[in-house]
Every structure is written in C-alpha cells, then in structure tokens.
C-alpha cells in the first residue's frame, strides 16, 4: 500500500471573503481563505490546525461544495469541482463526506440511525435496499456499535456513540475523503480516545483520506501524517508531522506548540521545583 502518493484533492489558490456588517453598519470584509493551495493524497490523514476564525471550516465546506469560493480551483480526482452547479456536483457528493463537531445536532432528531445511514447512501445506486440495510449493520459493527443501535434515535444515545455513528454515516457511501471538523471537541476527555482509535483503525483498514481539524495538538500528533497550520485565512505552515512538531517554522505554530506541550511541562516542573 505504500506506493508513491497520488493526489486525491488539489486546492489551488482558494480565496473566500465574507462580507459582514459591523455594528456601525459599515461593511467589513473578513478573509476566511486567502489564496490557499494544498494537496491531499490518497489514504493520508492531514491534520488541520488553527485558531477559531482562521478559515479551517470554510476550507472544508468549500471542498464539500457547501460554500462557494470567490476564486480558485478545487480539483478532485482530475476533475475541477469548485465551479460545478449543485446538480453537476451531485455525482461527487458520495465521494466527499464530513463528520461534524456536535454529534447531537448533526443527526436529524426524527430519524433512527438506520434511516440516517440509509439516507447517506441515497446516491449509492448500485445497491438495492436490502443490501443497504445489511450494510448499515456492517457499518455500525465497523464503528463498534451493536446492531440494536440501528433502531435508536439520536437523543437515546450518548455523545461518543453518536459520533461513532456519524463516522459510520460518513463511511456509508464509500467515500474517498472525509472532512472531520473537530469531531472530538464536544466529547468528554475520557472518551475522546475511542474516536481517535476508531479513526486510526479505519485509516489502516481503508484508503479513505481524512482532513482532521482540531485545536488539540495532542490529537493531531496521534492521528495525522501531515500537518497544515492556518492563521488568519492563510496557510502558514505545512509539512510532515515530525517536522511541524520538532522544528516549527512559523511564529504561530511555535506559540501553539509551546502553549500545548512545552509550556505546561515546563511550568509544572518549575512549580514542583519551587514547592519542594
């Protein structure tokens, strides 16, 4: 499986500016994406780091055709998809999937898990309904949920269970790419590991590419092959995980790293020195 990396998604000079009105009713432009260019290879996990408002979610929404770009190209599998209309893009929908931050609001409260997963397979025309039903159970099994979860509604499940179901839902139409938008941020610390380990296993078992967005560099360190750092709409740093963690170049990356690991270790040490 370790062949030369083949690009799956190429983003070229993507630019997006939101026009907001400030309280004084002046128009304010907010640049969410500023000439972002990046490549996501088949089967790799890219960690995407950046403070809130740095454009991480906008990037994901643009790749998934949930938002338009002002300029720039997004090429999936050799096809330019950014300029397509919604109906022209529909054939690509099933190949590009997403897991949302809040598991409870990302499921329709009126649908059981089975309906939700079947709905996610609506563009899978090669399978009949009975096959899809069996696939729902396989998918639930794949994310370590028993088959009885198929009949449950979202409010009957815990956050961790729902987020596993959300991953099953994203896997259902057999995608090439899943955008994971802070999938553990709304979960308790003690169960975040379940989701991370599940993703790590899927990474080994399938050839799906992930973009994993997180504030938490610890999670990125577990899960990412490569790390992208966004700051105020720009891609300020990208590289191998080891390179980013060991030799951060950009000032923001350094600040982020020191705020997460180094600083805390040093502070804790300093404290134990002063107190003993």
């Amino acid at each position: 499986m370790m062949a030369a990396p083949t690009p799956l998604i190429t983003v070229d000079a993507a630019t997006k500016t939101y026009k907001l009105r400030s309280r004084s009713l002046r128009r304010v432009n907010m640049t969410a994406l500023d000439r972002i260019s990046l490549v996501i290879n088949r089967g790799e996990t890219v960690g995407l780091v950046g403070e809130s408002g740095s454009g991480k979610s906008t990037l994901g929404r643009a790749i998934l055709h949930l938002t338009d770009l002002d300029s720039g190209k997004i090429v999936y599998n050799g096809n330019e998809i950014q300029s397509l209309s919604e109906s022209e893009f529909r054939p690509y929908r099933r190949k590009l999937q997403m897991v949302f931050q809040n598991p409870l609001t990302s499921f329709n409260p009126m649908m059981t898990m089975e309906s939700a997963l079947l709905d996610s397979m609506r563009l899978v025309s090669e399978l009949d309904l009975n096959t899809k039903r069996r696939r729902v159970l396989q998918l639930l099994d794949q994310v370590e949920l028993s088959s009885r979860f198929a009949t449950l509604y979202p409010y009957e499940m815990s956050g961790g269970q729902l987020q596993r179901a959300a991953i099953a839902r994203a896997l259902a139409p057999d995608p090439d790419f899943i955008f994971l938008d802070e999938p553990t941020a709304a979960l308790d610390m003690s169960i975040r590991g379940q989701i991370i380990n599940l993703l790590l296993r899927l990474q080994r078992e399938t050839s799906v590419s992930f973009i994993f967005v997180s504030h938490d560099l610890r999670l990125i360190r577990y899960i990412a092959d490569r790390v992208l750092v966004m700051y105020q709409g720009q891609l300020v740093e990208s590289g191998d995980k080891a390179q980013i963690f060991d030799h951060p170049q950009h000032a923001y990356t350094q600040k982020l790293l020191s705020a997460t690991f180094v600083g805390q270790a040093e502070r804790a040490q300093a404290r134990s020195r002063t107190e003993t």
Binding site: R23, E51, D188, M189, G193, L219, T260
Partner: protein
Amino acid sequence: MVLLDIRNLSIDFHVGKDIVHALRDVNMQIKAGSRTAIVGESGSGKSVTSLAVLRLLPTTAHVESGAIDYDGRDLLTLNESELHTVRGRKIAMIFQHAMASLNPLYPVGQQIADIYRHHFGGSKQDAWARAVEVLGETGIPNPEARARDYPYQFSGGMAQRVLIAMALVCKPALLIADEPTSGLDVTIQTQVLDLIERVVAELDATLMLITHDIAVVYATCDRVIVMYAGKVMESGTLDQVFGRSANPYTIELLKCFEETGVDQMPFIPGRVPDMRDTWPGCSFAVRCLFAKEVCHQQEPPVIELEPDHLSACHFARELQTQGVQVAPAADGGEHGEEMSS
C-alpha cells in the same frame, strides 16, 4: 486554615417528572490561600458545586442536605441581603462565556465601577478611576479608552480579562473560575491562566478553578479535587492526587492525557451513568478496571492516605502501595513511570 467547607451537600434537579441527583453527599474543603482545581467530566457536578457556593442555582435545583461554611457562616442559610455582602465582595466568580456575562448595553468600565460602588460606595469618579485601574492590571492595553468601550468591541480573550477585572475590583478573598478558558484559543488560554494566577497571587486570594482539562490544572493549581457522577473521588495536593493517585478514576483520567505511543490513544470504556439513577456501590465501578464484587455493592469509604490526601475507593491503599501494578495486564501498564515518581 479552611476557607470554604462544603459538608454533605446533596442537590437534586427536578426536570419535569425526572429527578437528577446532581450532587450526592459532597464533602470538600478549600484551604485559604490555595489554588484548588475541581476536575471532572460533564455531569460530574463540578459546576453545580460552584454555583451552589454563590447560591446561583436555577429554581429547578433543590438542596436536599448539607452546608457550605464560609468564614464561619453557612452560605445556604443567608438571606438575600446578607448574600449581597458576600457575593462579588468576598466571593467573586468568572464564567466560561465571558461575553454572555457582560451587559451589552453598558460600557465595561461602567459595569466594573457599578460593582465597586455597590460594595464600597464613594463617588462615581473614584469608582471609574478604580475600574480603569483594574482593567490596566489585567493587561488590557490603553485602559482609559477601553473602559468606555462596549462588550461587543472586545475579543473573547479580552472579554475574559474584563470579567477578571470585574471579579477583582472588590478584592475578593475567594475567586471561583468556572472553565475560564474552554472557549478560547490555545495560545490565549495560557495568557488568561497566567493572568488569573497572577491576580490571585497579588490579592492573596484563594482560587477555586473548575475545569475538565488536566493540563489547566497542572498549569495553575496546587490542590486538586476530582469529581465523578456527583461525588468527590479524590482530593489532595497536586502532587498527591496526580503524582500518587489512589483512585482508579484519577488514574484512568490521567492516562487519557498522557503522551503515549502513537498507535492507540487511551480512553475510559463505557459512559458516565444516568444521573437520574441511584446505585448502591461506587459510581465508577462499571467502568473501573480494578472493580471487585464489593465495589458494586458498597459505597466506598473515604480513606485518608496521608494528611489531606483523601480517596473514595475500597482499594485506595492497595492502589497506592502497589502502585499501578494492580492494573491488569490488558492495558500494558504503559503508565508506570508517570505514577511511581
């Protein structure tokens, strides 16, 4: 000396026909001058405890039993006017959502000045000057001008500084901070924590910090109280609780934050119990790797391992004397060196 003594506190929430037992016989002591962290996950009761101290519980909450002694008085028996002399003046609080805690209709300086005048009186000019002074102390650049700004003109981190300024204007003896950094970016979190620490040191105040983040505890606090499912699991100094943990929940929780190898991230299997239920044994037993028969049947006693170091576990002593070797082989004992220091 104990500044805040919470004894046998049980609080229920009546939600429709359901009764949620949010706090179940909680005992904790906050020592004067300490920086105490209350650590727990959602549903652990850590926020309910802090709200109970300030008597800010919603009307659905019912205090079933217990007392909260502060400075020799039970806060739960104070009437409204007595409460006003304590709230804000002696005990101040910083909330998670800084922006939502500020009144959008008034300049922040005025909001701070109003609190000052409410407790100390004096002229408006003096109060305003004091407001500008505390804003400056929290590291807000150009405080004279910023005091006239409205809350929406502040970023999340700056709004949190305003809230801290508001909390410290009356020089409180106890500062309660409920998840003060969880909505903020990582780089700003550090700044806010540094500020809280500095302010507490300057005021010679006591800090009670509610958090779910172990890293925040390491960075800011010297004492820890670990809560789970409405009960206190373990308490003691940072070194005792995190360095020589004597409660399986603390041990497992710490593992989740540890830097281990890369193939697996540690987690605690299972889920937190439904807080409407009651059970005879230990709350953590169903998720606990060390659980024995007795854990499911009897409520664990609170064992004092060393002065101050308390753990609610049947096997607290065994856990500590045998270190982490009690851990079954299944999880590889990968946390050995961290615990045995």
